[in-house]
């Protein structure tokens, strides 16, 4: 899969409370959640996300609560991919489970600038910064995680297993 779009850049320790504040967690509706995505961090996010669909961030992206509402609200707001220096583990897992690709690549995350045009090839494992001309190699996911992604997320994976067992 190839994803190419413009980058929105954020800093370190972007936590789930600023991704989707708890005051909006009285719903699970993805569009309602998307309407408040990043509201406490960046008031212009929704406007920006119309033309920029790749998030670049620093260390420990998605730290804090286990709310799956966080990756859901990001995905529902149209974001196609997140590249960060590192991810908080629950967020990473949640994103994979719902089929939002996340790549941890410190070098790319540090160097890519807000507004850069980016092209990412998930299968071949490279990130290209078209604006600066730099290229970065990414590590392939562990085999099990690849299987989850191939199945289109954890639910489909479990469904397939359940069918096989019956």
């Amino acid at each position: 899969m190839v994803i190419s779009d413009k980058a929105i850049k954020y800093g370190n320790n972007v936590n789930t409370d600023v991704i989707i504040p708890a005051r909006y967690l009285n719903t699970s509706n993805e569009n309602e959640l998307a309407a408040h995505c990043f509201e406490d961090l960046d008031k212009d996010f929704i406007e920006k996300s119309r033309n920029s669909k790749i998030i670049i961030a620093g260390e420990n992206f998605g730290c804090g609560s286990s709310r799956e509402h966080a990756p859901i609200s990001i995905k529902a707001s149209g974001i196609k991919l997140i590249i960060a220096e590192s991810f908080a583990r629950i967020f990473f897992r949640n994103a994979i489970n719902i089929g939002l690709p996340v790549i941890s690549n410190p070098e790319a995350a540090k160097n890519i600038k807000d507004g850069d045009n980016i092209e990412v090839d998930l299968d071949r494992g490279f990130i290209k910064d078209i604006t600066s001309g730099k290229e970065y190699k990414t590590n392939p996911f562990p085999e099990f995680i690849q299987k989850l992604i191939e199945n289109g997320g954890y639910v489909n994976f479990v469904k397939a297993e359940a069918l096989r067992e019956n």
Binding site: V18, L25, D40, C63, G64, R89, Y154
Partner: protein
């Protein structure tokens, strides 16, 4: 239970291996393990149920191994949250879930689950709540996951784990007056940062830890996630066993796992507990730790004593020792929330509740409430709270310009009396 394999293992490796029917779990390996309990609350369970139903099964994997605790927005704060709570209540009835805790029996999940005997040493527990790591205090492996993971585990009784490396934290020496588990864990997070133990298992040992109460151990394990960790574990000792006896458990009800002497740690930290003062984490990260006495004059609008971190009886006792017979500062609101019905009742019997009310505090039924900015004490624009909870991110307790300082119960109670961040008088 010792390792039958020759290679030394940590507690985390052993418990994971045991739950996959293996003798050895390699660090970095992805394993599919059987879990002993799957937990969710009124925020995360609706999504988990949604995902569970997609699989199309008629039954959950085990009606006794799922716990549903509506604790975040309950007693319901508005119509939407009432709908969410209704959804999980109906699911619990339809699927015959044994451990559903209705308002009135409900407590904050991470205080309630150990009290209800649903977490014992050697267990592997997952919950759709990041502070599920709390049960590490009992020598169990427990960790937070998202709703999809929880939904799938409700279907299969299993989940996947990457076997983590372990970092060991030795605390030795005697604690200073009023210093508790909260100060130890804030101290540690202040040293290693909010991602200092990312993906790792934290193991807490040393003479200070052996002397520490179970309530303080729960507080420490609870905040392992604030250092990015997957697990935060303690060894089972006499104190653990006494706690387990108190809730009616026999030795045959649990299994004790211990890291091998020569197990490999990614890192070992040695801390002198005598150096730990009464601490606070200033806005907006739990790692922004300072000595309470060095803060200068920080005026506050609200004090909250409660949550899954510090809403247990020991915390209320400390608050009572400081507040009883006095009046709280008239410029601030003081909200005290016993974490479970049992703790509430114990505090009532001990006379704490009466002392709090007389001093001018609000005493609430168990709820997460203000801890996540849900209800029962939301901060207005520019307001400042001192809270015994675990997160002080931007907007955590209300308006995005409001501020949260985190501390243990002693600093919270002392500050309730003065209206500014304070330490107790000698």
């Amino acid at each position: 239970m010792g390792s039958q394999s020759n290679k030394p293992q940590t507690m985390a490796q052993k418990i994971l291996a045991y739950h996959c029917g293996k003798e050895f779990a390699e660090e970095g390996e992805i394993v599919n393990a059987n879990v002993d309990l799957v937990l969710g609350n009124d925020i995360t369970m609706p999504l988990a149920i949604w995902e569970f139903k997609k699989v199309g099964l008629k039954k959950v994997f085990d009606v006794n191994k799922i716990a549903i605790v509506p604790d975040h927005f309950t007693p319901n704060k508005d119509i939407k949250s009432a709908e969410q709570a209704k959804l999980i209540r109906i699911f619990a009835r339809e699927y015959n879930i044994k451990n559903y805790f209705e308002v009135g029996c409900m407590g904050i999940e991470h205080a309630l689950i150990p009290e209800a005997g649903l977490a014992v040493p050697g267990n592997l527990i997952i919950g759709a709540d990041s502070h599920t790591c709390t049960y590490g205090a009992l020598g169990a492996l427990s960790t937070g996951m998202g709703s999809t993971d929880i939904g799938m585990a409700m279907a299969t009784g299993k989940t996947w784990f990457m076997v983590p490396k372990t970092i060991k934290f030795n605390f030795n020496g005697k604690l200073n007056k009023w210093v508790s588990g909260k100060d130890l864990i804030l101290y540690l997070i202040g040293k290693i940062g909010v991602d200092g133990a990312l993906y790792k298992s934290m193991e807490f040992t040393g003479s200070t830890i052996s002397g520490l109460s179970m309530d303080s151990r729960f507080t420490m394990a609870n905040m392992a996630i604030e250092a990015g960790a997957k697990f935060g574990v303690f060894n089972v000792d006499l104190k653990t066993k006494e706690f387990l006896r108190g809730i009616g458990k026999k030795e045959s009800d649990f299994s004790i796992f211990k890291s091998d002497e020569n197990a490999e740690y990614e890192k070992v930290y040695d801390f002198n507990a005598g150096e730990v003062d009464l601490l606070v984490a200033a806005p907006h990260l739990p790692s922004n730790v300072k000595k309470a006495k060095d803060l200068g004059d920080v005026e506050i609008d609200q004090v909250v004593i409660g949550s899954c971190t510090n809403g247990r009886l020991e915390d209320l006792k400390v608050a009572n020792d400081i507040i009883a017979g006095k009046k709280v500062n008239k410029n601030i609101r003081v909200i005290i929330i016993p974490a479970t019905q049992k703790i509430y009742l114990d505090a009532l019997k001990a006379g704490f509740v009466e002392n709090f009310v007389k001093a001018g505090c609000v005493v609430s039924t168990p709820t997460c409430g203000p801890c996540l900015g849900g209800h029962m004490g939301i901060l207005a624009e520019g307001e400042r709270a001192l809270s015994t909870t675990n997160r002080n991110f931007v907007g955590r307790m209300g308006h995005p310009t409001s501020e949260v300082y985190l501390a243990g119960p002693a600093v919270a109670a002392a500050s309730a009396l003065t209206g500014r961040i304070s330490i107790p008088e000698r």
